[in-house]
């Protein structure tokens, strides 16, 4: 892939809002962000309810309160991450451009399920009252790309706007799309990464699938026992630019994105579509590392979530393709954030690489639920 510079990070996470707050959260033992009493939705009491949410999330201190009325939670998370990312990269200050311009900056981000909150809200009106009472100002929120589209509206970013949806691998795939588009001269900088919002629908769906860890203690993704995932939420958007161009404008480079691979393995005939493929991840990792020095890989920043059916193949693939390299699991801190997962993985990799002397690179991995897998290679800047 064409090397990219990450010149800013906008993080809106359960560990904290802002890059430094996120790093501080990562330096503490995992688990602190999980709550049994979420503020993002009201559910009947359930003993297994444990999610990593941004408690009492309030976007107003970051983006102000004008125009937020009809935006859903997913959009608000993204707006906060976008504003912080652009300011962190020195592209904007106090809402005004200080480097580059509106037609030079784009957005390419992932969400796995869009706004289930908005769909449920409107479905409830249609089912319990009358579809004629649907609020037309809220309807656009049900469309998957709406929340990411709002980022361009709020920040006046006119180069391009794209949404990727590919389950948990989506954010890594968005980095690759951003790289292709920057390489083709469609934008000079792209806000890329992903977002997923906590909602009762998301939690109930994973609960009904039997995918959740519901024990009060002992949950440790990346540890020896996988007994279920815990959901998280957030938005994480990196500002990426052509490496030489970023250095040319004097931007601070937090990391370089130097490799990407993606692969898909179909399920065996007549087997369920839901399957996780070790072979796909092995191929994705090999492809991501093509042309790079494998001995420079200091760590794998994995997608391990605590769910055995996904962790097993991911572990097998990592042992096969990167045996001997330490494997970390940022989802122990942030939970399974699906469309944002790879983006938080990248952010964690940047933080962990800063203090790592075993090598300059981290391979960020993610496996999808239907046979797809992706890997991204991050390098600490020289």
């Amino acid at each position: 892939m064409r090397p990219l510079a990450i010149t800013g990070l906008g993080v809106c996470s359960p560990l904290g809002i802002g890059w430094e707050a996120f790093r501080e959260g990562l330096s503490a033992p995992p688990g602190g962000a999980f709550t049994t009493t979420p503020t993002s939705f009201t559910a009947a009491p359930h003993p297994g309810l444990r999610v990593a949410e941004i408690n009492n999330f309030d976007p107003k201190p970051i983006v102000g309160d004008k125009g937020l009325r009809n935006n859903d939670r997913l959009t608000r998370l993204l707006l906060v991450a976008a504003r912080l990312g652009l300011e962190h990269a020195g592209v904007k200050r106090d809402g005004a451009f200080t480097a580059l311009g509106p037609t030079e900056v784009g957005v390419c981000a992932s969400t796995a399920y869009g706004s289930l909150e908005a769909i449920h809200e409107l479905d409830s009106v249609a089912r319990l009252e009358d579809p004629r009472y649907l609020n037309p100002a809220r309807f656009p929120n049900t469309v998957i790309n709406a929340s990411i589209g709002y980022v361009s509206i709020w920040e006046e970013l006119r180069a391009l706007n794209a949404t990727v949806t590919n389950g948990p691998t989506g954010a890594l795939d968005a980095f690759d799309a951003a790289s292709l588009w920057i390489g083709a001269g469609r934008a000079k900088a792209v806000l890329t990464g992903g977002a997923e919002a906590m909602s009762e629908g998301l939690w109930q769906a994973f609960r009904r699938l039997g995918a959740l860890d519901e024990q009060p203690e002992g949950w440790a993704p990346g540890g020896p026992v996988s007994r279920g995932l815990r959901l998280g939420e957030g938005a994480c958007l990196s500002v990426v630019e052509d490496l030489a161009a970023a250095k040319g404008r004097g931007a601070k480079v937090y990391a370089e994105v130097v490799g990407y691979g993606a692969a898909f393995e179909p399920a065996e005939a007549d087997k369920p579509m839901v399957h996780v493929s070790a072979a796909a991840l092995s191929r994705a990792v090999r492809s991501a590392l093509e042309g790079l020095d494998r001995s420079a890989v200091a760590m794998v920043v994995s997608g391990l979530s605590g769910l055995a059916v996904t962790d097993g193949p991911e572990r097998a693939a990592l042992a096969e393709s990167l045996g001997g390299v330490g494997v970390r699991a940022p989802k122990a801190w942030c939970g399974e954030t699906l469309g944002a997962g790879g983006a938080f993985g990248v952010a964690a990799a940047i933080d962990w690489l800063a203090d790592e002397r075993a090598g300059a690179c981290a391979v960020v991995t993610s496996v999808g639920f239907y046979g797809n897998a992706s890997a991204l290679v991050i390098r600490r800047p020289e």
Binding site: I119, L128, L134, T142, V143, I153, A159, D173, P266, A269
Partner: protein, 406 residues
């Protein structure tokens, strides 16, 4: 190429109906829309899933993925592509959609609302993901390369086709199955009605008295190949994908920006990245939704780029409805048919010139003319503007000559 549409299954039936101007609009059969005061849509009727999918796929796939996989299988047959070319790490799937499996999502939500969360079946939940359009297609065809879904609302087809071309040009794939799929669903239909966007009887793009769009559904899928791969297997190219242009209005989530700056940029970029000039464009497949705002802005953009040269323009949404995410993919198929036949499909319902839409509409009956270079417009929710240029094989300058701009 493969098509699932309200006017026919397969590219032959689809094109025949388009040329003859046979509208796909009918009374909605999949849900009762009476209360909404709008009861018409361009619904795909007579689509028997098991005619196109295996028994296992038929049980598993939602309607949107079934449309995508059926159209993909038609496209693969049309291309004469072998199983070995498909079952390869060099074969990818990039599809667009707006909502994916909207009916499954809506059904699960209805059970939850009416009966409680435990009524959501764990057997059904895995079928609801919006990205299953691509996963099911890759699974069905056996592709093993990149598999990606781009939910770019009503520009999703153009986004997918452009990105597929990027993958091939970057040397990352030899073959990409690309296009988009969308299905008609109650909540989304009601939403369009509540936005005031749905016409009571018919869609009349660019007409002074236009009253809005007719919602449609379907899928359009094409097989994109590298030139080298196509030549090696002795395939006949139907058309070449030239450049494409993307822009974002950054203005309003549903309304187009009045100056048309984003569309103008996307259109100019599609032409420039193809190594061509505006003078060389022969035909425009319009986004042409039939809404007041879209058609006026799109006309402004056409005038800004082509000046006084009156390039023939048509909107087949007057025939197949607005198929949302699938729209620009199905319309891409139509563009390629135009390139191959020299026929411009008609814009139905056009009778009164709108001074705000001063463009050369191919009105009511099909036209004929030069068709070497065709552009496909799409404007979408989120302020998305995407234009793809298609050309007759060997019509475009070589990548070397155009400096690999695309």
């Amino acid at each position: 190429m493969g098509v699932v549409s309200s006017i026919g299954l397969g590219r032959g039936a689809f094109w025949q109906s388009l040329v003859e101007g046979r509208s796909g609009t009918s009374t909605i059969s999949s849900f009762d829309a009476t209360r909404l005061g709008r009861t018409l849509a361009a619904e795909v009727q007579g689509f028997v899933v098991s005619d196109h999918l295996t028994a296992v796929e038929t049980r598993r796939a939602g309607r949107c993925a079934a449309f995508a996989l059926a159209a993909a299988r038609m496209a693969v047959r049309d291309a004469g592509l072998s199983d070995s070319a498909l079952r390869s790490e060099r074969a990818s799937v990039v599809l667009g959609t707006t909502m994916g499996e909207a009916d499954i999502c809506g059904m699960l939500d209805a059970r939850w609302i009416l009966e409680g969360p435990d009524a959501m079946s764990p057997r059904v939940l895995p079928k609801a993901a919006p990205y299953l359009v691509s996963m099911e297609t890759a699974q069905g065809l056996g592709c093993r390369g990149t598999v990606l879904t781009l939910p770019a609302a009503c520009a999703a087809g153009n986004y997918a086709i452009g990105y597929a071309a990027d993958l091939i040009r970057a040397g990352r794939a030899d073959v990409v199955i690309t296009g988009a799929a969308e299905m008609l669903q109650e909540l989304q239909f009601a939403g369009f009605v509540r936005l005031g966007a749905v016409a009571p009887e018919r869609c009349q793009p660019f007409d002074l008295d236009r009253q809005g769009l007719i919602v449609g559904e379907g899928a359009g899928v094409m097989v994109l190949e590298s030139e080298e791969h196509a030549v090696r297997r002795g395939a006949t190219a139907l058309a070449e994908v030239g450049g494409y242009g993307l822009a974002c209005d950054g203005f309003h989530i549903t309304r187009p920006e009045p100056s048309g700056a984003g569309v103008i940029h996307a259109l100019r970029e599609a032409i420039r990245r193809s190594g061509l000039t505006a003078d060389e464009v022969d035909f425009i497949n319009a986004h042409g939704t039939g809404t007041k705002a879209n058609d006026a802005v799109e006309s402004t953009a056409v005038r800004a780029v082509f000046g006084d040269r009156r390039v023939p323009i048509s909107s087949i949404k007057s025939i197949i409805g607005h198929c949302m995410g699938a729209a620009s993919a199905i319309e891409a198929v139509s563009c390629v048919e135009t390139i191959n036949s020299g026929i411009y499909p008609p814009t139905l319902g056009y009778s009164t010139v709108d001074p705000e839409c001063d463009v050369a509409v191919v009105a009511n009956t099909a036209g004929r003319g030069r068709s070497d270079v065709v552009v496909n417009h799409s404007l979408a929710f989120g302020g998305y503007d995407a234009v793809v240029l298609f050309a007759k094989p060997d019509r475009l300058p070589s990548p070397e000559a155009r400096g690999d701009l695309s």
